[in-house]
C-alpha cells in the first residue's frame, strides 16, 4: 500500500484543482493529482491552435454527425469543429434531466481552464453579505477581507489585465495593464457615465490574458489572435497547462494520473476522517485505492458533489457531507442571453487592428447605492463594439463584382451587450444520484431538477430594458432589446450543491471549505458557493483554493487533521 500513499490527493485538474496542486506541492507536500480524462500537454497537444478557417473542412461549423453525438452540447456554441474533442463524450457520460439542464463538461487534464472565457472579477462585500441581508439561504462564513489578500495572491500569479476603477461593487485587483477599448466603446462609455450621473460604468473587461510577458512562467504576452479556446501556444492566458501545472511539476512533488475516475472518498468511521479515495481506471476498468492525509475535491461543481453522494453511504445514505440535507441542493448558474444591440452612426474613418480576446464590462448597478427593484440582487453586462463583416446585408447589391467589393469592406459599427444575472440559492433547485441510468463505467449518474424562479424572471426584464436604455442614451440607433432562450447551465458557471456556511446543520462546508463531517476533505470548486453573485466565478475559486490550502497545510503541521 505504501506506494499508493501521498500527503495529499487532488481530484480534478481544472482551474481550482490546478491551483490546489500548485499550492500543496509548493508547500512541500507529495501530491497525487487525479484527472478522469486524457492528458493534454501544453502546446504540443493543442492540435488546432495554428489552424486557420480554411484548414477546417467545414470551416469551423458543426456536422450532423457531431449534432447526433452531442444532444446537450448542440444547444449552444461549444459544439463546433474547432473545439471538437474538448468536451465530454455524452454517450459515455449521460445524465438525467427531470428539468432541462445544459451541462457542458470538459473531461481532460486542464478541464475547462482550457476553454474558459477568462473574465476575472473579484466579489464585493455586497456579495458576501447578500444572503444575510436578504434573509435568504445561509450566511457566507467569510467576508471580503478574508479573501482580499488571496485574490491579490492569485491575480499576481495568474496574470489578470484590467483597469482600476475604484468601485465598491467590483473591487480593484493586482492588474497587468488593461487592454484597450476601441473608439466607439470609449465614447459610449463616456456617454453612459454622463447620462447616468456616474452611477453606471463601462470599462475594459478584466481578463486572464497577460499583457506583459511572464518569463518566469515561460508565458508570452497576448498576441491578439483571439484563438484562446484552441489552447494558446504562447501561454498567454491562464490555464492549468500554462500556469499551475508547470509550477506544481517544477517542485518534483507532483504525480499526475489521467484516466482516473474517483468513485468515492474512503471514509474512516473510527477516526471520522477520509483516508483516501477509490479510483476506477477509465481505460482498464480496474479499481485502485490511494490514501492521503488530506483530500481536495476539485472535480467541478457537480462532479465533486457526485463523488460525495457516492461516498460513505453506509453511514449517511445520501453520502459524505449530506448530514445537513443540503448536499446537492442550491444549484446556481448565471442566467444570460438577455440584453440589447444596435447600430452606431459615424466612425466610418475608424477601424481596429488585432483580434482582442476581450470586451467591455458594465458592473452591477441594480439594488445598490439606494436603488431598489422588485427583485433581489443584480446583473452585469459584457459586450463589444465592432464593424460588420462580410456576413452582413448590403442594400441593393446582391450579386456580382460590386457586391463582392462591398462585402470586402467593413460595414457600419454595431454594439451589443448581454447580461449575466445572479441566480438565487434555492433549496428546491437540486441534483440527486440516480442508479437507474449508468454511465459507460457502470456508475450512477446525476439527475437534475433546476429551474429559474420568479426573481430571475423579473430580473431579466431589467437585463433587457436597461441595456436598451443605456445604448439609446449613448446615441446608438436602431436599438433592439432581446431575451433569448436560456437553459440553466448555459452560463457554464455551475455553483452550489455543497455550500459553505457557519453551521453544520445547514451547510456542507465550513469557512475554510472543510467538510463538516470529514475535516480533512476540502471542496474548493464551484460546489462550495453559498450564493452566486453576478460576476464570473473562476477567480474566486482560485482565491478560495489558495486560502484553503494555506489553512490545510498549517493544520496538518499542527496535527489537527492527522
Amino acid at each position: 500500500m505504501a506506494e499508493n500513499h501521498y500527503d495529499a490527493i487532488v481530484v480534478g485538474s481544472g482551474i481550482s484543482g490546478g491551483w490546489a496542486a500548485k499550492e500543496l506541492t509548493e508547500k512541500g507536500l507529495k501530491v497525487l493529482l487525479l484527472e478522469r480524462g486524457r492528458n493534454i500537454e501544453h502546446i504540443k497537444d493543442y492540435q488546432n491552435a495554428q489552424k486557420e478557417s480554411w484548414d477546417y473542412p467545414h470551416r469551423g461549423h458543426r456536422t450532423q454527425e457531431m449534432i447526433d453525438k452531442h444532444p446537450v452540447l448542440k444547444r449552444d456554441y461549444p459544439l463546433n469543429e474547432q473545439t471538437q474533442g474538448m468536451w465530454v463524450d455524452e454517450q459515455k457520460s449521460p445524465y438525467i434531466e427531470e428539468k432541462r439542464f445544459d451541462w457542458f463538461r470538459g473531461y481532460h487534464v486542464g478541464g475547462r481552464s482550457l476553454l474558459w472565457g477568462r473574465q476575472s472579477y473579484r466579489w464585493s462585500q455586497t456579495d458576501f453579505e447578500a444572503n444575510i441581508r436578504d434573509g435568504l439561504a445561509v450566511d457566507w462564513p467569510i467576508r471580503y477581507e478574508d479573501l482580499a489578500p488571496w485574490y491579490s495572491y492569485v491575480e499576481r500569479f495568474a496574470g489578470i489585465s484590467g483597469s482600476k476603477e475604484g468601485l465598491d461593487i467590483l473591487p480593484d485587483g493586482e492588474f497587468l495593464p488593461p487592454m484597450q477599448l476601441n473608439c466607439v466603446e470609449k465614447d459610449v462609455a463616456n456617454c453612459i457615465k454622463e447620462k447616468f450621473n456616474g452611477q453606471r460604468h463601462m470599462f475594459i473587461g478584466r481578463v486572464a490574458n497577460i499583457t506583459q510577458a511572464k518569463p518566469e512562467q515561460n508565458r508570452v504576452d497576448c498576441q491578439y489572435r483571439n484563438k484562446c479556446w484552441l489552447g494558446c501556444p504562447y501561454g498567454a492566458y491562464f490555464s492549468t497547462q500554462s500556469a499551475t501545472l508547470p509550477a506544481a511539476m517544477k517542485t518534483g512533488n507532483l504525480t499526475l494520473r489521467p484516466y482516473s475516475i474517483v468513485t468515492q472518498v474512503l471514509y474512516d468511521k473510527d477516526k471520522k476522517k477520509a483516508r483516501g479515495v477509490e479510483v476506477l481506471d477509465a481505460e482498464n476498468h480496474q479499481t485502485y485505492e490511494y490514501t492521503a492525509d488530506v483530500v481536495f475535491l476539485n472535480a467541478s461543481t457537480l462532479n465533486s458533489t457526485w463523488i460525495l453522494m457516492n461516498s460513505a453511504t453506509d453511514i449517511w445514505p445520501d453520502g459524505l457531507g449530506s448530514s445537513s440535507g443540503e448536499l446537492g441542493h442550491n444549484v446556481m448558474d448565471h442566467h444570460l442571453r438577455a440584453g440589447a444591440e444596435g447600430d452606431v452612426e459615424g466612425y466610418e474613418d475608424k477601424y481596429y487592428y488585432g483580434r482582442r480576446p476581450n470586451g467591455f464590462y458594465v458592473p452591477r448597478f441594480r439594488n445598490i447605492n439606494g436603488d431598489n427593484r422588485d427583485y433581489l440582487r443584480g446583473f452585469g453586462y459584457q459586450g463589444r463594439a465592432s464593424r460588420e463583416r462580410w456576413d452582413r446585408e448590403v442594400a441593393e447589391l446582391s450579386i456580382g463584382a460590386d457586391f463582392k467589393q462591398a462585402l470586402s469592406e467593413p460595414g457600419q459599427w454595431t454594439i451589443g451587450m448581454g447580461g449575466f444575472g445572479e441566480i438565487l440559492p434555492d433549496h428546491d433547485n437540486h441534483v440527486s444520484l440516480s442508479h437507474e441510468v449508468k454511465d459507460a463505467w457502470g456508475l450512477p449518474v446525476l439527475s437534475f431538477s433546476v429551474e429559474l424562479k420568479e426573481n430571475e424572471l423579473a430580473m431579466r426584464k431589467d437585463m433587457t430594458q436597461d441595456a436598451v436604455d443605456m445604448l439609446e442614451a449613448a446615441g446608438v440607433k436602431n436599438v433592439r432589446g432581446y431575451d433569448r432562450e436560456y437553459g440553466v447551465g448555459m452560463g457554464i458557471h455551475e455553483m452550489g450543491t455543497a455550500r459553505m456556511g457557519r453551521d453544520p446543520k445547514t451547510s456542507v462546508l465550513n469557512g475554510f471549505n472543510q467538510i463538516w463531517d470529514a475535516p480533512n476533505v476540502f471542496v474548493t470548486d464551484g460546489a462550495c458557493m453559498t450564493s452566486a453573485s453576478c460576476v464570473n466565478p473562476s477567480l474566486t475559486y482560485m482565491a478560495l483554493t489558495a486560502r484553503a490550502v494555506d489553512y490545510a497545510v498549517k493544520e496538518l503541521k499542527k496535527g489537527t487533521l492527522a
Partner: protein
Amino acid sequence: MNRRELLKMISAATGTAMIGGGALLSGCSREPSDSDISTAQLVFSANDVQLLDEIAETILPRTDTPGAKDAQVGQFMTVYVRDCYTEEEQNLFHSGLVQLQETSLATYGQEFIDLEAEQRLELVRELDTQAKTQLAESDQPHYFTMFKQLTLFGFFTSEPGATQALRYVAVPGRYDGCMDYEEGDRGWAT
C-alpha cells in the same frame, strides 16, 4: 465572452440564419426526414462541382482579387452539404441544382454552364429575387438561398477570400482600438 461569438455566424447577407450545422441559430430542430430519396442520389458528381463553381463565380466573380472559383467554393459546398445539412436540406439543395438547369434550358435553351456571362448574371439575379420573396413569405428556404449562403461563407473563409479579398494577419501581436480607415480599405476576415 468572445467564446460566444460563434453564435453570431448568422448570414445576414442572405436574410436568414445559416442553414445546416448552424441550425440551432434559427432555434429550430429538424426531425429526421422520412424522404424516400436514397442517399445514393445525394452524391455530387464532378459536373455538379463545376456547376456550383460557376454559380458561385457569378455571385462572387474574380476581379482584381480572386473569385469563388479560385477559392474552390464548389468543392467546399459539396462537403458542407454532405456533412452539415440534414437529409431534407440535402434534398432541397440537390433538387435546386436540377431546377436551376431546367430554368436555364427553358429560358435560354442551354445549360447554365454554356450561358454567356450576361445570361448567367440575369438568371442568378432572378433566382436571388425569387429567394428573397420566398424568405419573406414562407419558412421553407429557397434552394438559391443555400447556394448563396455557402458561396459567401465558403469564399470569405477560404485562404484566397480571407487573405486577398479581405485582410488577415495570423499573429497581430498587438491591438489598436482606433486605427484609421480609408474607404476602399479591405475588411478583416475575422
